[in-house]
Structures are given as C-alpha cells and as structure tokens.
Amino acid sequence: MTDARWSEPAPTRRWSWTDPALRSAVIQIALAIALIWMAWSFFANAQANLARQGIASGFGFLDNSAGFGITQTLIPYSESMSYGRAFLVGLLNTLLVAALGIVLATIIGFLVGVARLSKNVVIKALASAYVEVTRNLPPLFQILFWYLAVLSTMPSPRQSWSFGLQPMFNAFAGWASGIGLTPLSDMLAALAGDVSAPGVFINNRGLVVPRPVFEADFSIIFWIFVAGIAAAFLLARWARRRQERTGQQFPSFWAGLALVAVPPTIAGFLLGWPLSFETPVLRGFNFVGGIRVIPEFVALLVALAIYTAGFIAEIVRAGILAVSKGQTEAAYSLGLRSGPTLRLVVIPQAMRVIVPPLTSQYLNLTKNSTLGVAVGYPDLFAIFAGTTLNQTGQAIEIIALTMAVYLVISILTSALMGWYNKRVALVER
C-alpha cells in the first residue's frame, strides 16, 4: 500500500499579501503592541498617582499587628498577630465554607435533579418549586433569610436545646443487656460514665459539641483504625479480583465498613477507652470548652449550598436526559437491571455532560462566599478586603491580592475538573 516514494514531507507555502497567515501575523503584532502599551500606561499612572498623593504602598503592612478579633479561626490567632496571619485565617475560612458548600450542594443538587425526573407529581412539583425559588432569588437574600429568619429563632444559651450523650449511651446499654450482649452493654455503660454531662447543645450561638481529648494509649486505637481502612481497601481489591476471576460478587462495602469500625471498638474496650471528652459547660455568657460551629458559618453554608444546588439540579437533569434512551434500552435488553444500568452505563456518560457546567457552579459558589460578610462570617473578603483594607487603606495591594487568591482558587478548581473531564472524555474516530 505505502510506497517509499510517497513518504515525502509537505512543501513549504508561498507568501502573498492576501495570505491569511501573513494577515494574522500583522493583526497579532498590532494587538500585542496595544496590550503592552495599555498595561504599561496603567502601571505608570498608578505609580505617579500614588507618589503624588503620598499614599503608602507595598506589602509591608502584612507584618503589622492586626488588632481585631475573628470569630472563627481554624488556626491559632489572636489580635496581636499580624495582618498576614489574619489573611491566612480568612483564606482558610473561605476554603472551608467553599469546600463544604461544594460537597453539600452537589449532594442536594443530585437529589433534587433526580427528583425532577420522578414520576411522582408532588415530588416533581416540589423539586421544580425548589429550583425556581432558589434560582430566582438573589443569594444575598437567601443568606440573610437563613441567618435572620431561621437561625436567630434558636433559643439563648441558657435555654439551649441539649442532647445528652449519657442517656443515649445508657439507653443503648440497656438494650444491649436486654438481648444478652453483656460486653457491649458494659462498654456502653462505661462510655456513658465518661460523658457525664449532656454533650451537644444548640442555641443562637451555634452548635456546641464535646471536644475529644486523646490520652496516650489512644494512638493504638488510631493505628488499628488506619489498619482497618487499609484492610478495607485490600478487601475491595480482592473482591474485584475475585469477581473477575470467578464472577462471584462480594458485599465488600459492608465488610469493609465492619473492618474499619469493629477492631478499633474492641481495642478501645480492651484498653478501657483512653479517650475522654471535654464537655462544654455554660459559664457566664457562653459555653466554654467543646467545639462550636457558629451560626454565621451555618447560615452561609446552608444558603450557598441550597442556592447552588438549584443550579446543579438543572445540570444533573440535563445530563441524565442527555444520555439517549437507547443506552438504557440496550442495557436492559442485555438483562442488566436498573441499578447496574444507572451505575455502569448512564452515570458515566452523564458525567461528561455534567462536569463542565458543574465546574462553573463550583466557582460561583466559591465566589459567592464573599457575601458572607453580610452575616458576619469572617471569610477572606470580610477580613482582608474588608477590615484590613479599612484599617490600612492600601486598596491596590489588598484588592490585587484578594483577586489573585480567588483567581488561583478558580483556576485550580477548573484545572482539576478539566483534568477529570479529559480523563473521561469519549474517544472519537
């Protein structure tokens, strides 16, 4: 078929004035010059303007002490620390609410999206109403709604709704001894002794839960737990291999769960629970001790998740509808049931349609987290482009840094999702 004489390379092209290649070169050079000139003049003007008015510039301010308090800090922080530290605190708070928001929104969005395809008209109507209401009200309203109209109706700390762990454990212990599981009953009773006070409180200051305090021996339990996870993974792999080998299926999920949960529990029992809880106590105005989830965070998280889920629901619906009916029918006609059909045929294909617009929604959620400042959530925008900017007045540096951070987050998210999408892209002829 292929003679040697045909493997010559293509010849180079001739030049002419009307050649698109030359024209494009001219246009591009002109554009490049214009862009560079614009950038340069922006820079020069800013320099001149700042110098003329004697406005401080540079990033030196990041080392000055901040002097203001922050409600929610994932890393240790106090007023005497620097603006740079405050920046980090804000960044982490933004990342926290964005990451959790993305997870929540995805879950709700998938559920609602599937509900919109349900046969049940009530559920379908509810899902549609959900989508219409959440998508058509500005997110700011929704955040304020959750914060001012819902969460603020919680009781004050003194009237907290409390959920005692002790009665719960005791109840379980009674149940266990009732059916003859004495060791388990003893263990639960011992646990109940550890958590003497009620542990979980909900009030208008947020949700307070006990903070686990680990004693020395706890590391043993921890490593057993880690080993359990590893074993569960090995088990899953073994199960997959076995299915390939023999066709037998194995409930590897439940078995894995047992591997992760049971051995640490037994070890804990044997070691006499080297774990105690620092229970929150009401002292003065607030609860002291324990871990607290502030309502500002909850309101922002819930509002963002619910708002974005409305959009995700539509994306999911479109994605599922985009997989042609023929695919489902082909799977059915091969004898696959609806579960495997969904898992093996429909969802992998729908994901390709879903992922790109889903990425945009993730980015939107991240950017919308800047609205948290309305309810006092200390995110990057509130702390840095808000308080810090106001205290230092260095608008150029601060806004540039803020924009850069959001840009980097966005680009990283897109890149990650793009990589995933490329991995699952269809191979075409």
């Binding site: 203001f68 005497s80 914060y147 603020s152 900017l389 007045g393």
Partner: protein, 315 residues
C-alpha cells in the same frame, strides 16, 4: 486646585455615610439629611451661596478612603474617627472634630450588668470597617477579658443579630447606640453601659496636597462653631451683619476680608449660617431633643458651656 475644580463643576462632591441616623440618611422625600450632610451643605453655601449645590457620594466604611484618595470626592464628611495613621499614611488631613464621640456598649437589662468589665466571655456584635472593631480588641486585651467579636457589613444586620440574641452586647459609637434603640423589639429592655472605652473624634477629611482647600474646609467648621458662640444664627444673621461686636463683624465679613484668604467672598460665613445654621442649630436639627434620636450634647457643648467644641478665632 480643588476649589477651582469645585467651582468649575458647579457643585461640591461630598462623601457621606450610606445611612447613619442623624448624620446622613435620606428622608421620605429622598433628601439627604444629617449632621455630616449639613456640613457639606454649609461649605456649598460658602462657595456658591447655594446650600443645595452638593453631590453626595454615599460611601460604605471601607470604600471611603479610596474614594477620597482617588479624587472621587472633595471632602469626606462621614463620621470618620481622627487617627494618626489615617492622618498620615493614608495621605489625608482631618480638619477638626465635628462630633466628639466615644465607643459604648449596649446590653440587655436582664443581664444585670453594671460595667463592661463584666462582659468576660461575651459575644459582641460590631459593624465591620470601623475603629470600633479595634477598640474592642484593645480594651478587652488590656483588661484580660475574653470575647467573641462578630463583625457585620452593615449596621442593620448588626442590630438584628443583637436583637435576636446572637450577641450579648452591641458596641458602636455612642451616638449610634441611640439610633439603634429605635429598631429594637423592646427598646426598654436594653441599657447602655456607663463606660466609654475610646475616644472617637469624628470629623471631615480632605486629601493631602491642597492646603488652600484644607484651610477652606477647616475654617468653615470653625466659623460654624464661632457663629454659635457669638450668637449668630440663621434667623438673626441678617441683623447681626450690622452688629457692633467686632468679632461678629470680622466673622460676617463686615470688617476685614478674611474670606478672600481661602478663596471665598467676604460674606461666606453669613451665607453658611443663613442657609444651614450655626453649629448648635445643625446639631439640634439632626440630633437634638426634638428628633427621634434625642442625643444629649455632652462633650459637644461649646467650650464655654462645659464642652469641647472650640472655634478658633477669626482675626
């Protein structure tokens, strides 16, 4: 120069608050009213003999400095606390103190508190972008108190959060505490604690680099205070022009040409007082006992009545 720009433009660009009862807020007809607003109107009256030639830029706390730096406004009259860093590194000049304020705390009566020092461990609501945020930090740290600070973007959400019980205390400049009480579900359930934890001298600000403009704004303020001190008010200013009192004569321009030094006509003070009133009138109109706010003049009484307001002599 700024004055020339203002004259060419035919109006003064004045930065005010986006809504601060008694200082700057729109009324039912959409007119901006308040102490800060009236000061801008007074300057406009001095320059144009028309107090309405003001263009208001309602600014949020964190936009205000950038707006002034970039030249979007000529004068920032927006309850801004005079601090050293603002006066220096931001490139501004404070012209005086329009209102001596201080930061206070409001709490529920039911808590039975007598002092801020009993607020250990309390949650405190504050509006972001203010010096209040920093003062709390300073005060509680010095007194070894723990606290949780929740900073909101606008005053309304701050109040709602406090009202709903999210915070044990609400802190802001004392002038605001009065306005805030009007919005509480049960105003009588709340008290203002006696401590004033900071000095909050609020005053108008101009940019560095234009001393003539700086002088103009500064002396407009002094003149308003002097007018009150000398008993010149909007009703009697026409008669006062012919007053024999030499101080009044200098002030109102019937003796000397003091206005010209700052690029204004000689009757600049008369214009201001006639259209806007003297300092006392402005205060009473916006914050006085006949307003819903009913704020006591306190430190803002004239120096000779036991307060701090002290106009430099025109001479």
């Amino acid at each position: 120069a700024t004055l020339d720009d203002v004259k060419a433009r035919g109006a003064l660009n004045c930065g005010v608050s986006q809504g601060l009862p008694g200082f700057s807020n729109p009324d039912d007809k959409g007119n901006w009213t308040g102490l800060d607003v009236d000061f801008c109107r007074a300057i406009a009256a001095a320059i144009f003999n028309d107090a309405s030639k003001v263009k208001y830029s309602p600014l949020s706390a964190k936009d205000r400095f950038t707006a002034l730096q970039s030249g979007a406004i000529d004068v920032l009259s927006r309850n801004t606390t005079w601090t050293m860093s603002r006066d220096t590194t931001l490139g501004f000049n404070f012209v005086g103190v329009m209102y001596y304020d201080g930061q206070g705390f409001m709490v529920r009566k039911s808590l039975n508190l007598k002092s801020v020092n009993e607020l250990n461990g309390a949650s405190i609501c504050v509006q972001t972008g203010t010096t209040n945020e920093l003062n709390v930090g300073d005060y509680f740290r010095t007194n070894n108190l723990k606290y949780e600070l929740i900073a909101f973007a606008t005053i309304d959400e701050t109040i709602k959060a406090y009202d709903s019980g999210r915070c044990d205390a609400f802190t802001s400049d004392q002038s605001q505490l009065y306005a805030v009480r009007l919005k509480l579900t049960n105003a009588s359930d709340h008290v203002v604690l006696p401590e004033v934890i900071s000095k909050e001298p609020l005053g108008p600000v101009v940019r560095h680099g234009d001393d003539q403009w700086f002088d103009l704004v500064k002396w407009s303020y002094f003149a308003l205070v002097d007018a009150e001190e000398l008993g010149v008010n909007s009703k009697n200013v026409d008669q006062m022009v012919s007053s024999p009192n030499p101080e009044i004569k200098r002030l109102l321009g019937s003796d000397g040409k003091f206005g010209e030094a700052i690029g204004l006509p000689v009757d600049w003070v008369a214009r201001m007082v006639k259209q806007v009133g003297n300092y006392g009138e402005i205060f009473d109109r916006n914050l006085g006992p006949n307003t819903p706010l009913a704020i006591d003049r306190g430190l803002n009484k004239l120096w000779n009545k036991g307060g701090l307001q002290y106009g430099m002599p025109v001479r």
